[in-house]
């Protein structure tokens, strides 16, 4: 794992400890995807965060919001001090993002109700297509979210309108199989007309490479793209990977020390 990703995970632990809340398993599941998007895939920087030329990331999977905060902070959009106000009274940084609190950009959508982000992203991509603009629009969704009917309504629309600048990234941490398994996402999305690829969702280079090749395929096919990023809940911290109670829990003082140490010593080959 990149040293930077360990640092971001440790910041998440601190935020969760300070704010006494967190969806750390979901955040750690998505962190490499978010990092890859903002550090090599998207045309995005704090300087163009509100420019009409930027690429968009719509976070449909609201539980990953903390991950977006830390990645954007790492790029200089927010200070680390402000991040530590997470979930405090009157903070801008809540468990789920509130777009209206970020006039400087970065947070494109408010999140919290699953199944809304993907169709919203479809609308953004449609707006760009109508104007003949080439901005890419990315969506981060969870595999569990694919139970929502709106995800499939959006998929129908996206293929029908040939939204080739739209890239859905599914953080597939196998949540859906614990609820209502719907079979192969890859097969279904291909049937819907998407260009689809699979990758290791914790390998930044693999994520970047796959998105770039998917985008070429999507352009050629005039279809939307979908990357199914295979991930592990709580990845990068042994306790979070094995103890389900960490889906919605924050570390106390002692746990913060222990979990931080686990992140530091985490070895990918374990």
């Amino acid at each position: 794992m990149l040293k930077k990703l360990k640092e971001l995970r440790k910041t998440c632990l601190k935020m969760s400890h300070a704010g006494k809340d967190g969806n750390l398993q979901s955040v750690f599941s998505s962190l490499e995807i978010l990092y890859a998007l903002y550090n090599g895939v998207m045309n995005w920087s704090p300087q163009i965060a509100t420019s009409s030329e930027r690429d968009y990331l719509i976070v449909s999977k609201g539980q990953a919001t903390m991950g977006q905060y830390v990645v954007l902070s790492d790029l200089g959009l927010f200070s680390t001090d402000e991040l530590m106000t997470f979930c405090n009274f009157d903070s801008r940084f809540g468990m789920q993002a509130d777009r209206t609190k970020f006039p400087e950009g970065g947070i494109e959508n408010s999140a919290g109700s699953l199944g809304h982000g993907f169709p919203m992203a479809v609308g953004v991509a449609m707006a760009h297509k109508i104007k003949g603009k080439t901005n890419n629009v990315y969506v981060l969704a969870g595999d569990g979210e694919m139970n929502e009917g709106t995800m499939w309504e959006a998929a129908i629309f996206a293929t029908s309108k040939k939204l080739s600048k739209l890239c859905l990234i599914i953080d597939d941490n196998e949540s859906i199989s614990k609820m209502l398994s719907i079979g192969s996402l890859e097969k279904k999305l291909r049937e819907f007309g998407f260009a689809v690829a699979n990758c290791d969702g914790h390998n930044v280079n693999e994520i970047m490479t796959n998105i770039k090749s998917l985008q070429k395929e999507a352009e050629m096919n005039q279809s939307p793209a979908c990357l199914i990023a295979h991930t592990v809940r709580g990845y990068g911290c042994q306790t979070l990977m094995t103890d389900p109670s960490w889906f919605h829990r924050f570390p106390n003082d002692e746990e913060l020390k222990n979990l931080t140490k686990e992140v530091d010593t985490f070895c990918e080959n374990k």
């Binding site: 199944g115 809304h116 169709p119 919203m120 479809v122 609308g123 953004v124 991509a125 449609m126």
Partner: protein
């Protein structure tokens, strides 16, 4: 007949031909006055199919890029099917977007309960950032169309195709969210109505000299409205009758009660509307038939006003 749907949409079509960056996102609904636009500017009419939730979210995405967007489909599905999208994708994000719902009250009457639109305003009244326009005449439809071009927050436009009345609409009316349709010489009773019921009540009042002399009529077309201004209009009458083709719970009558109560004004209020304690009608029948069942036809309204006057 110049009706409110066309009055609204024709203004929008004209604006698009004049160069405004307006988009209609529609779920299985068009209109004859859109036909030429759809040929000349096919990209301005985006069909999402029969998918109301997708309609609102996709329209929100278009609005996120700064476009002027109208999400257009039939009521009641616009509101009821996609309420969470309205709440989160539109209201919570304060997106300047129009929710344009065609249909109101007991319409279409012969489709039965699934198609009645009796509690949309009641539900949406509690939505943050949203302004509701219950369009009660073609001039208001034209005003709302102009407003569509300069929105700063979301609006819900409820259009009843059977409304074809024309009333004066002043800037003051628009600011207050209601207008006085009739001012009596002796202000004894004030009828407060909304939507097509404003036309019905106006016809009732015009039909009798004693009503013309003693009964004011106020058309509340916007929620929220200017509460202080409404209290000023109501405070000198001795009885208020509210009339709405909506469920009573949380509707216009409730709003009037709340407004008076908050102002510490205690005037008897009689609410006429769809009283669900009597159960919803399971019969198919005309709109007029349904209105009569709930005491909302002209004769019933006249009886209530007459009794209120004689009770004095």
């Amino acid at each position: 007949m110049n009706e409110c749907r066309d009055a609204y949409l024709k203004e929008i079509v004209k604006a698009i031909y004049d160069g405004e960056d307006v988009y209609l996102v529609a779920a299985d609904l068009a209109a004859p006055c859109l036909d030429k636009l759809r040929e000349d500017y096919p990209q301005r009419y985006v069909s999402v199919g029969i998918a109301e939730q997708s309609l609102i979210a996709v329209a929100s995405g278009l609005a996120l890029t700064g476009k002027k967007v109208i999400a257009y489909t039939s009521n009641p599905f616009l509101v009821f099917r996609a309420f969470d999208q309205i709440r989160n994708c539109v209201c919570a994000m304060k997106l300047p977007l129009v929710l344009l719902g065609l249909g109101a009250g007991f319409t279409p009457p012969d489709y039965g309960f699934t198609h009645f639109i009796l509690e949309d305003i009641n539900i949406l009244r509690g939505s943050t950032e949203l302004t509701i326009y219950n369009v009660s005449d073609v001039n208001l439809a034209g005003y709302v169309a102009q407003k569509t071009l300069n929105l700063s927050s979301p609006i819900y436009v409820r259009i009843d195709r059977l409304v074809d009345a024309e009333y004066e609409l002043t800037t003051n009316d628009v600011d207050r969210g209601f207008r006085v349709l009739h001012k009596a010489v002796n202000k004894k009773i004030c009828v407060v109505s909304t939507g097509i019921m404003s036309t019905e009540c106006f016809e009732v009042i015009k039909s009798r000299q004693d009503f013309l002399n003693n009964v004011d009529l106020i058309d509340v077309f916007s929620f929220p409205f200017d509460e202080k201004a409404l209290v000023d209009e109501l405070k000198n009458c001795y009885k208020i009758v509210t009339v709405e083709e909506m469920r009573l719970q949380g509707g216009l009558g409730s709003a009037v009660f709340e407004t008076l109560g908050d102002a510490g004004i205690y005037i008897p209020v009689q609410r006429l509307g769809v009283d669900i304690s009597r159960g919803l009608s399971s019969h198919y029948g005309s709109r007029e038939w349904h209105l009569k069942q709930f005491g909302l036809d002209r004769n019933s309204i006249a009886e209530k006003i007459e009794k209120s006057l004689s009770d004095r």
